[in-house]
């Protein structure tokens, strides 16, 4: 997307939001536009950021990943299980990463080794994730649910003393800061290191990468498993960072919004972060409108998808992904 396009889109978003706020009574504006709204935007954006980062590695290596939803859900569930069994949120996060990584491995074997259609494989991963977690929650916890488990703590309380924005950026959940740090690390890794270059090369032109001796399969495996691990971290945050227990299908489509954020952010770390924040903000706003003002705000939730469609269609600079994404690679 061009710079002008981004500014135009941003202005359009603000316009829509202003109209929504204006349509409500002016006394309620203060209740909506508050510190809570911006903190909410961060909270909503974090699982999207983790998911989109996961998608970034996978797709940059040439494997389309529409299974983020299932991987995230697996992270939610197994994170809660481990966290409850061990009483330690740290181990819970590790469990979530392992569970997401496991589905990543399933996706990797199918789409890399068996050269299955990557969209079908991703669909299978989503349905398996839903099946395993809804089966597991009833089998392990029964109908009363998991109950509250040890939560990931909030950190960096000293930032709360920063003037003006301290209330928003200070004392957030650890995973929110981890997500921001991972965006920076991913940018550095993908665009400033040799292995990052190799990963992108495999996603753009695997035959050329193979010719110069790069392990195409190995790199793709690593990227797709990492993709699941990151999605699992997003799930961990959702289940026992933001919330404190597991409920069936609790991701509720966040994996797909993460995919949208990845595309809207043009397969770039900072781009996807901006997209996740924008989508997170629109979700937080919709939520605030519904819970505080009891307005029917479901239309606000369509915004991320409409933006992504517009970006895909290329009215304001087209989003285009890695050239070899979606195509199985066969050595000759």
């Amino acid at each position: 997307m061009t710079r002008r396009g981004q500014i135009g889109l941003g202005a359009f978003v603000l316009f829509v939001l202003l109209v929504i706020v204006w349509r409500t009574q002016s006394t309620d504006v203060a209740a909506i536009v508050s510190t809570g709204l911006f903190v909410g935007a961060f909270q909503y954006a974090t699982p999207l950021t983790f998911g989109a980062l996961g998608g970034l590695y996978s797709e940059r290596s040439g494997v389309v990943n529409i299974g983020l939803e299932g991987m995230m859900l697996m992270g939610c569930f197994w994170g809660v299980v481990v966290s409850q069994e061990t009483g330690s949120w740290e181990l819970g996060v590790l469990g979530a990463m392992a569970a997401g990584g496991f589905l990543g491995l399933v996706h990797a074997v199918l789409s890399i080794h068996l050269r299955a259609n990557q969209v079908i494989s991703g669909t299978a991963v989503n349905i398996l994730g839903l099946g395993i977690t809804s089966y597991g929650t009833n089998a392990i916890f029964g109908s009363e649910g998991s109950g509250d488990v040890p939560r990931i703590p909030s950190v960096l309380h000293f930032l709360e003393k920063v003037p003006l924005i301290g209330d928003v950026i200070g004392g957030l959940n650890l995973m929110i800061y981890v997500a921001l740090a991972l965006v920076a690390v991913s940018w550095w890794f993908l665009f400033r290191t040799v292995w990052g270059l190799r990963l992108r090369a495999v996603g753009e032109h695997p035959r050329a990468a193979d010719t110069v001796g790069l392990p195409v399969f190995g790199i793709r495996y690593a990227a797709v498993i990492l993709s699941g691990v990151l999605a699992g971290m997003g799930g961990a945050y959702l289940a026992f960072g933001l919330g404190s227990q597991f409920s069936e299908n609790m991701t509720a489509g966040r994996g797909f919004i993460a995919l949208a954020a990845l595309i809207f952010g043009k397969w770039k770390p900072w781009g996807l972060l901006a997209a996740a924040l924008l989508f997170g903000f629109s979700q937080a706003l919709g939520d605030a409108l519904q819970t505080i003002l009891h307005v029917n705000a479901f239309l606000v939730f369509t915004l991320p998808y409409i933006f992504t469609l517009v970006a895909l269609v290329g009215v304001i600079g087209r989003s285009r992904g890695p050239a070899a994404a979606g195509i199985p690679y066969a050595r000759q």
Binding site: L110, N117, V119, G131, N138, L309, L312, Y329
Partner: protein
């Protein structure tokens, strides 16, 4: 021995799907055994829960002791779910035949539902019924046609666009029928539409508690339509040609773009009809809370894959998935019914994995060449005319 039978061309396709189901049932059984349930007992309950024991009560003297009324209710419930699944199955299968992947069944289903609802709220009688059904088909066709148009003329991959269109449709439908929505029946207060006119409801044909409605004939008629369009019309020929090799099709004078838009629109019409069937035959209204949880559109993917995109295959696969889902809700005694939906999803996911990875085929024929069920796709690829072939690696 099994290998030899399965390799015979006549039985091959059917045998492959049968073997796939069998393997998936084993995986589901392992999950159950893992948590201490007896898989055989559960599967027996599943068959009974789906009402498949009903024909046995017709045997003189009823030697199996089938509870005829219960079996009838269960079978009716299965067939009621079977009806929309056939249609969403065709919505995915038709796209596969054109080399397209339609994940948008859910969105097209809801657009069709809303169209049918609005028409049937205002026009009654047989005319209203027909009009509402047609409106649903057109609504779904337009919604899917958007994705087709974006693919053909802007190069936006249909997988991504149909996912986005799904969520736009889901949230918009929720908006319409949630509390304080524009089409909500605000006298009730829990977010549901007004009912359709009674005279516009599909008449029931069988059943006591729940009734099978005439929509099942619509679904079966669509199986014929699907077969005829694909195999007996120019459009179907062009669609299949594009599915095999878009570049060759274009070289042969077929408009690839037009075929893509037409194929997607036909897919959407099928999914939209599934929405009509649910609104006019089953629910008579749309509760907002239903919208995010109904996954009929999504199950169509598994139905199409297992049915290998053939008319008969899709019908049989839809019957299987309807039985899995409907039978699961009737489970009792040996199994916690809350586990049933999980098992049903695990089996469904495994079937997609097996078909998608062609694991059974690989096991049977080794590394030998085989025809792919669906072509490879590249969601981020340039417009369709640029890569030489959907399945070929452009290197």
């Amino acid at each position: 021995m099994i290998r030899r039978i399965l390799r015979s061309p006549s039985l091959g396709e059917f045998g492959l799907s049968l073997l796939t189901v069998f393997l998936a049932l084993i995986v589901g059984g392992l999950a159950m055994a893992f948590t201490g349930a007896n898989p055989l007992g559960v599967y027996k309950d599943l068959v009974v829960g789906a009402g498949f024991d009903w024909p046995f009560h017709l045997i003189p003297g009823n030697p199996l002791g089938v509870n005829a009324l219960l079996a009838e209710n269960n079978l009716v419930a299965t067939l009621v779910l079977f009806t929309p699944l056939v249609l969403t199955g065709f919505a995915v299968a038709f796209a596969f035949r054109c080399g397209l992947f339609n994940i948008g069944g859910t969105g097209q289903f809801w657009v069709g539902s809303v169209c049918a609802l609005v028409v049937a709220q205002h026009v009654g009688g047989p005319g209203g019924m027909v009009l509402a059904t047609i409106a649903a088909g057109i609504g779904g066709a337009i919604w899917a046609g958007i994705a087709g148009g974006l693919k053909a003329y802007r190069g936006a991959h249909e997988v991504i666009t149909t996912i986005m269109l799904n969520w736009i449709a889901i949230y918009t439908t929720q908006y319409l029928f949630a509390v304080a929505g524009p089409l909500t029946d605000n006298s009730v207060g829990n977010g549901v539409s007004k009912n359709i006119l009674e005279s516009a409801q599909y008449p029931g044909i069988w059943g006591v508690v729940q009734k099978i409605h005439i929509g099942i004939f619509l679904a079966l008629a669509c199986a014929v339509v699907y077969y005829v369009i694909l195999n007996r019309t120019t459009l179907g020929y062009e669609v299949r040609a594009v599915g095999f090799n878009p570049e060759a099709a274009r070289y042969g004078g077929i408009s690839v773009k037009r075929s893509i838009v037409a194929a997607m629109a036909i897919c959407g019409a099928f999914a939209g009809l599934a929405g009509a069937v649910q609104v006019l035959g089953v629910n008579y209204a749309i509760p907002a809370s239903d919208v995010p949880v109904i996954d009929i559109g999504f199950t169509g993917i598994a139905v199409a894959l297992l049915g290998r995109n053939t008319a008969v295959g899709v019908v049989l696969a839809a019957l299987l998935f309807a039985a899995l889902q409907s039978g699961g809700t009737q489970l009792s005694g040996s199994f916690n019914p809350e586990l049933a939906s999980g098992v049903s999803n695990i089996i469904q996911g495994t079937i997609i994995l097996l078909v998608g990875g062609e694991l059974v085929v690989r096991w049977l024929v080794g590394r030998a060449k085989h025809e792919r069920v669906v072509p490879d796709v590249n969601p981020n690829a340039p417009p369709p005319q640029l890569p030489p072939q959907a399945g070929a690696t452009p290197l």
